[in-house]
């Protein structure tokens, strides 16, 4: 269903943070049953605008109209009362509670003074049937995969009678299959009259699912388009304000010596199950080895074991000829390991620290940042200013706590730190997750340049496009094993897709 009835209207919203105009006279409207994508560079103000619509922030000026009437939200409670629901990227579910308990939390149905779980469970079942959101109301959250947890979040908003659903980068951590399921759910919701605002950096997704697309840049709305009127290149240009080369320029690899050697590595996960089984590979100086695979096939555990964050239980890892199996991270870092971790808020950043301190997180004790155990503020200051500039981290000051940066800019801080010191091996796990196309372009160039300078690169990514654009060789991981290794020229999207799904080439 997609009528022209406008159910939410934003007029002239302005929001100033110290040193940043996050929203600058933003106009935006949402129609009934519409899927409205919101695009924009990192730090353009998308999340801020959504937080305002959800009552988390109050705008400095401007107004919000719901069904034509001006409304004021001083907290999410008010927004929920107006039928607005938001699903954040980091779900706010209690891991040890069941689906039903999580859904009723904060809005408990009570019968005779007791929680009425049965009624709620029935309602959950009904909602999941109505919108095709399959979940088991009795399941405990921590046992569910990310995609299903996200469904629980969506049901939670529907349970509170949301007519407008805000999804902030919902696909960033989903597997391709989960993304497809989510899109089914979204279209089903839209057919039944729920309007959806959907933030993403993936232009393909936008063109596939959105009814209208609004692009933001520097806090302002640049324009609203329908998918028919536009294409990827045009959207990218609208976002960044210049032409973006969506293809990576890359010459043939000049191979050097073997830098990194992994032999028969096996690793257990948290639950003590074997997540990585008997994995062996080598990375030479000057090449990029891509590890493709659907998320959750052991990549996380593999990278943690390779970077000293997890102890493998079998096999060996050699870096530059030294045995670093079960080594702690520091000796590897000092030898020349750079690691872009998968979970930026867990491993990559100290959110309460200023950007500058995060930029020296691995080298704070080395010259020139410290001398005789004393931190040299001047050197840190110069370095931080330089990196913020070079990597286009959008922040009013390198002394802002990292928590105040937009998601994509947080990622840029990590990438800047890891790519800016002399390294021999780069292990990058989802290096461009949450980044806008312009930043992806820049970081891909940087990674290729590092390769050309003779750095060995191990790239782990769930994005097939990224793997195919950068890798010289591609290894496919499936259920903890490397099931195939191909030269980049032999690899096709379809072939890789089949391997990632566990089918052998012969069968394919």
């Amino acid at each position: 269903m997609n009528t022209n009835e406008v159910i939410l209207e934003v007029r002239g919203i302005t929001k100033q943070f110290p040193g940043v105009l996050a929203n600058d006279r933003v106009d935006f409207d949402l129609r009934k049953g519409e899927i409205h994508a919101l695009l924009g560079e990192n730090g353009a103000g998308k999340t801020t605008l959504m937080n305002i619509l959800y009552g988390l922030y109050q705008p400095d000026s401007g107004e919000i109209r719901r069904n034509g009437e001006v409304v004021k939200f001083s907290s999410p409670k008010d927004a929920i009362a107006q039928g607005i629901g938001m699903v954040h990227q980091h779900f706010m579910l209690i891991p040890v509670f069941t689906v039903t308990e999580n859904i009723m939390l904060g809005d408990e149905t009570v019968k005779n003074g007791l929680l009425d779980q049965r009624t709620v469970a029935a309602l959950v079942r009904q909602l999941s049937k109505q919108y095709g959101l399959e979940v088991d109301p009795q399941a405990v959250i921590q046992d569910l995969p990310v995609g299903v947890q996200q469904r629980v979040e969506i049901i939670k908003t529907l349970y509170r009678k949301a007519e407008i659903l805000i999804l902030d980068e919902p696909t960033a951590v989903l597997t391709p299959q989960e993304v497809e399921d989510l899109f089914h759910i979204i279209s089903e919701l839209s057919h039944q009259g729920v309007s959806i605002i959907f933030i993403t950096h993936k232009l393909k997704e936008v063109l596939a699912i959105a009814n209208r697309i609004t692009v933001m840049r520097n806090g302002k709305v640049v324009g609203t388009k329908t998918p028919q009127e536009t294409d990827e290149a045009h959207l990218a240009e609208m976002m960044v304000g210049r032409e973006v080369i969506l293809k990576v320029e890359k010459g043939p690899a000049k191979l050097g010596d073997v830098v990194f050697e992994v032999e028969n590595l096996s690793v257990f996960d948290q639950r003590g199950l074997e997540a990585v089984r008997d994995v062996s590979f080598q990375v030479k100086a000057g090449e990029i080895l891509g590890i493709a695979g659907v998320q959750g096939n052991g990549q996380t555990e593999l990278v943690e074991a390779l970077t000293g964050l997890r102890t493998p239980h079998h096999g060996s890892v050699r870096l530059g000829g030294f045995d670093v199996t079960a080594s702690s991270p520091r000796p590897m870092i000092e030898y020349g390991l750079a690691h872009i971790p998968e979970d930026r808020q867990k491993h990559g950043l100290v959110l309460s620290f200023p950007v500058a301190d995060n930029l020296i997180l691995c080298t704070y004790y080395q010259q020139p940042f410290a001398r005789n155990y004393i931190i040299q503020n001047k050197a840190v200051d110069e370095y931080a200013h330089r990196l913020v500039e070079e990597f286009d981290v959008r922040t009013p000051s390198p002394y802002l706590p990292a928590s105040k940066l937009s998601g994509g800019n947080q990622q840029k801080v990590i990438v800047a730190r890891e790519l800016s010191r002399p390294v021999k091996l780069l292990i990058a796990n989802q290096p461009t997750r949450g980044l806008d196309v312009g930043s992806i372009e820049y970081i891909h160039q940087q990674i290729v340049q590092m390769r050309d300078r003779g750095v060995a690169v191990l790239l782990v990514s769930a994005e097939l496009d990224e793997i195919m654009a950068l890798s010289d060789r591609i290894a496919v991981m499936y259920r903890g094993q490397i099931v195939a290794t191909l030269g980049a020229s032999q690899a096709t999207r379809e072939g890789l897709g089949l391997l990632m799904a566990g089918l052998q080439i012969a069968e394919a």
């Binding site: 998308k46 937080n51 988390l56 990227q89 980068e169 950043l349 997180l361 004790y365 931190i375």
Partner: protein, 380 residues
């Protein structure tokens, strides 16, 4: 050149402004928490039939009304500063040291023992420049060991430091009680009190002004506070402590030895608490007596919380707590309002600092971004 100069000036100016802006907003909530606590405390006094104005006047007079009372306020504030620093440093390292009380008592006993027994054991009269530092050091080391044990347990086994420091308190306090009643009891036949003999003359700080109890420990405490601030914010070790405290996973990722840093933080914390005890012995009481140190280590938690774990804030909140303890007696004398009211106010301060949402609500201060951080994901 001139333009450049102007630029530099501008840069300097904004820096100052920023500094004021940030420290002001950091100070605002604790200040208002104190204010609110006094207002609510005043209501409590009024309900108990007292006059809150004369009570607070008495409190002020008792704390700051004369050189004598000023001096006494610093006497109270001194152990509070040391112990407050101990708790604050642990907080910065992500650790909750409830054991300052035990570390302090043990520090005092160790210090007292060195102070009275060492010259006799060595059979020589050590000069002050040797004996005094040794005496203080003994307390610092004893406290440090007592802090290191729960730190080590946490790093090694994951055993929670809150439980373990509480346990260590019981062990320390019972041990001290045994020592003061037994092997270390003042052998003077007239003595019935659980206390050590007096320490040697050369193990003592000399008074600053004769006739006043204010002592060098207060000056030392302020210097140590500056040192702790420097350690935490200007050195690589401080960087490690704060990283391990704020996000141990990121610390490990960055190559920090998180386990070692935990042990170190707890050791330093214990050393500061031990120093509180050592200074009480060497600069004020010249011995240790059961009951000299009751509660400093616990009040220190409130002091560190009020200071938001900032070492320089600890000086201010320690002086506030010291002033209240010191002024309380005068208040009681003038108005017959029991000193216990002071404990009520302290508890209220703690309440308003811990639940700062209440203070923000009363004074309509916008919450800082804490709430939003929760809701920030990959998408930011």
């Amino acid at each position: 050149m001139e333009a450049k100069q102007g630029q530099v000036n501008q840069k300097f100016k904004t820096r100052i402004q920023r500094w004021f802006a940030s420290s002001w907003s950091a100070l605002l909530v604790p200040l208002l928490a104190v204010l609110t606590a006094f207002v609510v405390g005043g209501i409590v006094i009024a309900m108990a039939g007292g006059n809150p104005f004369s009570a607070y006047l008495g409190l002020l007079e008792g704390a700051f009304g004369s050189t004598k009372s000023l001096s006494e306020t610093t006497v109270w504030a001194t152990p509070y500063i040391f112990a407050g620093l101990a708790v604050a440093l642990a907080f910065k390292g992500g650790l909750f040291n409830i054991g300052a009380e035990g570390q302090l008592a043990l520090g005092a006993v160790a210090s007292a023992w060195v102070g009275y027994a060492l010259p006799g054991l060595l059979g020589i009269n050590l000069p002050t420049i040797f004996l005094l530092p040794l005496t203080v050091l003994a307390g610092v080391i004893a406290g440090g060991i007592w802090g290191a044990i729960p730190g080590w347990l946490k790093a090694r086994t994951g055993g929670h430091e809150v439980i373990n420091t509480i346990m260590m308190n019981y062990i320390a306090l019972n041990m001290v009680s045994y020592l003061l009643n037994g092997p270390m009891k003042d052998p003077n036949p007239l003595n019935v009190i659980a206390r050590t003999p007096e320490i040697a003359e050369s193990a003592r700080f000399t008074p600053i002004f004769s006739g006043y109890r204010m002592h060098w420990g207060f000056i030392l405490a302020i210097l140590i506070a500056i040192l702790v601030w420097f350690l935490l914010w200007k050195t690589t070790l401080g960087f490690e402590i704060r990283t391990a405290g704020a996000n141990p996973d990121a610390g490990k990722y960055a190559g920090v030895n998180v386990g070692r840093t935990i042990v170190l933080s707890m050791t330093l914390s214990g050393m500061l608490a031990g120093m509180a005890g050592a200074i009480e012995v060497t600069a004020l009481n010249y011995r240790h007596e059961l009951g000299f140190s009751i509660g400093y280590g616990f009040d220190a938690i409130a002091i560190a919380l009020l200071a938001k774990s900032h070492p320089l804030g600890v000086i201010l909140s320690a002086i506030l707590f010291g002033a209240m303890r010191n002024g309380g007696t005068r208040m009681q004398f003038l108005t017959q309002i029991p000193v216990d009211v002071i404990s009520v106010i302290q508890a209220l301060i703690l309440l308003f600092v811990a639940a700062d949402a209440i203070v923000r609500f009363i004074f309509r201060i916008k919450a800082r971004e804490e709430r939003v951080v929760l809701t920030r994901g990959w998408g930011g």
